[in-house]
Symmetry: C2
Subunit: 202 residues, 2 copies
């Protein structure tokens, strides 16, 4: 079993943090995105969509998509639970994880991808959309600060995958000058707490 | 328990199809998106992000996000399984569901939202991005036709949530003139098969 990883992209960090929280050690193989190794035929056989991370099982099965990989390990190593603790809680964690992904990570990623030199010629870039998504992400941070006024973690009382997605998103915002503002103390308190966990360095 | 629903939006249809495949009957309450009932304070209390569907439990807990709602019902009513059958299969279904969502439904939704009158003044529209996402979606259909050459359903041998997301995405493409092309027979064969299931009318 091994994971095709990249130290420069946000999604692989989500998997590394998830495994670090669970104390799981899996060999990582770096895929050099700068040299476009992910666009070569050998990698496309593992994931035709050319994204990292990819988990390769011993039988050769390749599982792409960050949350699919996390779910696989959650089932193999249920403790500590990062996808919820019972039926209702698992639905709520999924809701918050998806909100963090679709409302925060996606606009923050677009703010970079849709304007940055790195993606030129690789995707159809619309710089005006990068600017719109930057504003959308900043509005979401205002909302999220209010949410965090009354709870320690994104999905409630317990650290979960939703915290991982949110902290990875916000940290990736730096390259687009998106970040927590001085008038967002609840978000800052939460960010300080999750960033102090050993998993944040994974 | 009830579900806040809309007959005009794609995501609520995903939940209705999911429940129809499982034979689950839940009361639905229509939320009139045309009259912006989803933007009124009463609905924002249930879902601050103002999206449908929302599942309201008897204890008042509100679960938003389509896949979170589906996961809740998958746990309560495991058969027929629509999120996979074992640890590896569940990871693969999650992978395919996410590919259909992020690579097909998202661009198809953007092709509508980013240019259509209905969203004017509600979101930051970038019509050029609508055009780019239409082309992206059309390229994904070319890829997906190749994928479907060797499998009956999106995630493999068994109907799953990935089929639901894909058929809802493709059917919603009509409003943006995105659809299966005459030279995509595998995709057409699959679309005919999933559209013939009673759940497609849900």
């Amino acid at each position: 079993m091994k994971i095709y990883d990249s130290n420069t992209a946000p999604n692989p960090r989500r998997v590394r943090m998830f495994l670090a929280e669970k104390g799981i050690h899996i060999p990582y193989e770096q895929v050099d995105l700068g040299k476009a190794v992910n666009r070569e035929p050998a990698f496309r056989q593992k994931n035709p969509l050319m994204t990292v991370p990819v988990l390769e099982l011993d039988d050769g099965t390749c599982i792409a998509e960050t949350v699919a990989i996390c779910r696989y390990f959650e089932e193999l190593h249920p403790n500590p639970p990062l996808l919820g603790t019972d039926t209702k809680d698992r639905a709520l964690v999924e809701m918050w994880q998806r909100r963090m992904e679709l409302e925060l990570l996606l606009p923050i990623a677009d703010a970079f991808r849709q304007r940055h030199e790195f993606f030129k010629g690789k995707i159809r870039q619309v710089p005006e959309y990068a600017a719109a998504q930057k504003l959308n992400a900043e509005e979401r941070l205002v909302w999220l600060n209010d949410v965090m006024a009354s709870r320690p973690f994104i999905a409630g009382d317990r650290y979960s995958i939703a915290d991982i997605t949110a902290v990875v998103a916000i940290d990736f915002g730096r390259v687009s000058k998106i970040g927590i503002q001085p008038d967002q103390p609840h978000l800052k308190r939460w960010h300080d707490a999750v960033s102090a966990r050993p998993s944040a360095k994974a």
